[in-house]
C-alpha cells in the first residue's frame, strides 16, 4: 500500500505540470495585451519596460519555464493589472474566504446529508423516506442561484424582522448562514441520495444476512457491517463534489457579495491579467488534484480488497 501511495503522489507532478501548461497555452491564446486594455493608455517606452519586466518579451516556452519555476517556489508573480499587488497577495487576501465558505458548505452537506440518507434507507418506503427523498430531489434540481435568491428573499427581506440575517459581505457567523446553506444544499442532497442508495444495496448483501444469522443485534449489524461499507462511495464522491463547490462558490460569492476569489477571477480574465488568472487557476487545479489524490488513498485504506491488487 505504501508503494501505491508513493506512486500515486509522484503521478500528480506531471499532471500538475500538464495543467499549468494547458492554462498557460489557453491564457496566451486570449487575444489582447494587459497593458493596452487599461483605460489609461500607457506610453510605448514604459510598455516595453513592463513587458521586459514581466518576461512578456521572451519566447513562449521560456515564459512557461519561468512560470513553472515560480509555481514550485510558490511565487506566482505580480498582478499585471493591479501593479501594486502580487498574485500571492491577492490570493492570500481572498482565497481563505472562499475556502472557509467551501469547507463549511461541505460540512453542512455531510452533517445533514449522510444521516438523512442512512435514516431513509433504514426506513425504506416509510413516509420519512419519501419525504426526505422528496426534499433531496428538490434541492438537487433547483439551481443554486435560485436557492440563494430565495433564501435572501425570505430570510433577509420578507422576514427581516424575525431573523435579520445579512445578505452581503463576509464577517461574523451570521453572515455565513445563508451562503453556506445556498452552496451546501446541492452536495447535501447528493450525499443523502448516494448514501441511501448505497445502504440499500449493502443491506441486500449476503454478508449482512450472515451477520444477522450469527445473532448479532441489529444495531450492531448496521453500525459495524452496513455503515462502513455504505459510506465508501460517499468518500469517493467528495472528489468530484469539490469541483462543484468551486464552481458553485463563484455564483454564491457573486450573489452574496462575498470577497472571495470567484469575483476576482472573472475580472482578471476580462482584464487580461495573466498572472492572476494563471495563479488562481493553477491554485484551484492543485487543490482538486490533491483532493482527488487524498480520496484515492483514503479509498484504498477503507476497502481492503483494493490493497492487494496491482495498480
Amino acid at each position: 500500500m505504501l508503494k501505491f501511495t508513493i506512486r500515486r503522489i509522484l503521478w500528480t507532478i506531471p499532471v500538475i505540470l500538464l495543467v499549468i501548461l494547458m492554462t498557460f497555452v489557453m491564457m496566451r491564446m486570449i487575444k489582447g495585451n494587459p497593458f493596452r486594455t487599461t483605460e489609461r493608455a500607457v506610453p510605448e517606452a514604459i510598455q516595453r519596460n513592463l513587458e521586459r519586466k514581466f518576461h512578456l518579451d521572451q519566447p513562449a516556452y521560456k515564459q512557461y519555464l519561468f512560470y513553472v519555476k515560480g509555481v514550485f517556489t510558490l511565487d506566482l508573480g505580480p498582478s499585471l493589472v493591479l501593479r501594486s499587488q502580487t498574485v500571492n497577495d491577492i490570493i492570500k487576501q481572498h482565497f481563505p474566504v472562499s475556502i472557509h465558505l467551501g469547507v463549511m458548505a461541505l460540512l453542512f452537506a455531510i452533517v445533514l446529508g449522510i444521516p438523512l440518507g442512512i435514516l431513509a434507507a433504514l426506513k425504506q418506503n416509510s413516509p420519512l423516506d419519501y419525504a426526505s427523498m422528496g426534499i433531496a430531489n428538490l434541492g438537487f434540481s433547483i439551481p443554486s442561484f435560485l436557492v440563494a435568491t430565495l433564501l435572501i428573499y425570505f430570510f433577509a427581506v420578507k422576514w427581516k424582522d424575525v431573523t435579520g440575517l445579512p445578505t452581503n459581505g463576509w464577517g461574523g457567523p451570521e453572515t455565513w448562514v445563508l451562503p453556506v446553506i445556498a452552496l451546501g444544499i446541492y452536495p447535501m442532497t447528493y450525499f443523502a441520495r448516494l448514501v441511501r442508495g448505497s445502504m440499500l444495496e449493502t443491506l441486500q448483501q449476503d454478508y449482512v444476512r450472515t451477520a444477522k444469522a450469527k445473532g448479532l443485534r441489529w444495531r450492531v449489524v448496521v453500525g459495524k457491517h452496513v455503515l462502513r461499507n455504505s459510506l465508501i462511495p460517499a468518500v469517493t464522491a467528495t472528489g468530484p463534489l469539490l469541483g462543484y463547490l468551486i464552481t458553485g462558490s463563484f455564483i454564491i460569492e457573486y450573489i452574496f457579495g462575498i470577497p472571495g476569489i470567484g469575483k476576482y477571477y472573472v475580472t482578471a480574465v476580462t482584464g487580461r491579467d495573466y498572472s492572476v488568472v494563471m495563479g488562481i487557476t493553477v491554485l484551484l487545479s492543485v487543490i482538486i488534484i490533491v483532493a482527488n489524490l487524498v480520496v484515492d488513498i483514503v479509498y484504498v485504506y477503507l476497502d481492503p480488497r483494493t490493497r492487494d491488487e496491482r495498480t
Binding site: W11, P14, V15, I16, L18, V19, M22, T23, M26, M27, M29, I30, K31, N137, L138, F140, S141, I142, P143, F145, L146, T149, L150, I152, Y153, V157, Q204, G243, I246, T247, F250, I251, Y254, I255, Y265, V266, V269, T270, V277, I280, T281, L284, S285, V286, I288, I289, N292
Partner: protein, 322 residues
Amino acid sequence: METDQRDHAIEATHRRRAQFEDALTRTAEVRGTEAGAALGRASLWKDAYYRFIANKASVIAAFAFLILLAYVIFVPIFSNEDPYAVDFSEAYIPPSWEHPFGTDQFGRDLFVRTALGGRVSFAIGFAATIAIMVIGITYGATSGFLGGRVDNALMRFLDALYGLPYLPFAILTLAIFGTVNFWTMVVALTIASWFTAARVVRGQIISLKENDYVRAAYALGVPRRRILSRHLLVNTLGVIIVFVFLELPGVILGEAFLSFIGLGISPPKASWGTLAQEGYVEYQVHPYIIVIPSLMIAWLILSAFFIADGLRDALDPRMKET
C-alpha cells in the same frame, strides 16, 4: 450412510435408470415438450421498453420532459404575443391570466420569452451533449479498446484535464474566443465536460472486454474493428443513452451558471440562464422573473434524472434481480 450400502443403492439407481429413460422418452413424445425449450424470441430493446413502462416514476418523468419540450417548441408558434415588442405600459405585470408568466421590464410577455429561452437552452444543451458524446465515445472507446500503454497515456492526460475546474475552464475558453455566442458557448461547455463521458465509456468497454463472449469472438477470428462495433459498442449503447440524459441537464445548468455571472449569450437571444440573470437584478421587487426560468431548469433536471434512472434499470436488469 455406509459405503457398501451406498454402492448398492447406486447400483439400483443405474438399473432403474434404463427403465426410466424409456419412460421419459415416451412422455416427451406424448407431451410434446422438451426440457429447456426456448420460450420464444425476445429482443433486448423490447424487454427494456416494457421494463421502462412498468416504472411509474420514469413514465411520469418522460411525460414531464415531453411536456417541457412541447412548451418550448409550440408556444412561440401559436402565441400572438410579440416577444420582442417593447411596451413600457405593460412592464412588470406579475403572472396573470393574460400573461401566465408575467412580463419583464420592457413589457415583453414572459410566457413566450421563457419558451424561446428554452429553445436556446435546449439547442445549446443538445449541441453540446452530442459533441460531448462524440468526442467522449471516440476517446473512451479507443482508450478502453486498445488498452495497454495507449490506454495509460490517454488516461493520464484525462487525469490532468480533470484537474482543471469546470467553470474556470469554460471561462477561459470563452475568453479565447472573445465573444459569447451560440457556438462559442457550445464549444466552451463541451471542452469543459467531455472527460466524464470518455471515462464512463472507457470503463464500460473495459469491463465488457473481459466478458467471455468477446474472447470467443476473438478466438473465432472476428476482426478487431468488428468486435468493437458489433459487440462492444452495441452493449455500451445502454450506458451511453443513460449518460446522455444525465449530461443534458448538466450542460444546460452550466450554461445557466455562465450566463448568470454575465458571460452568457448576448441579447436579444436569451437562454434560461440569461433570463434568470435579468430577473436577478430585480428579484427583491419582482421575484417571479428569476423564479420562472430557474424552475424550468429544475423541471428539466428532475425529469431527465428520473428518465435516466428508469433507463438504467430498464437496460440493466441484472441490478434488480434477487
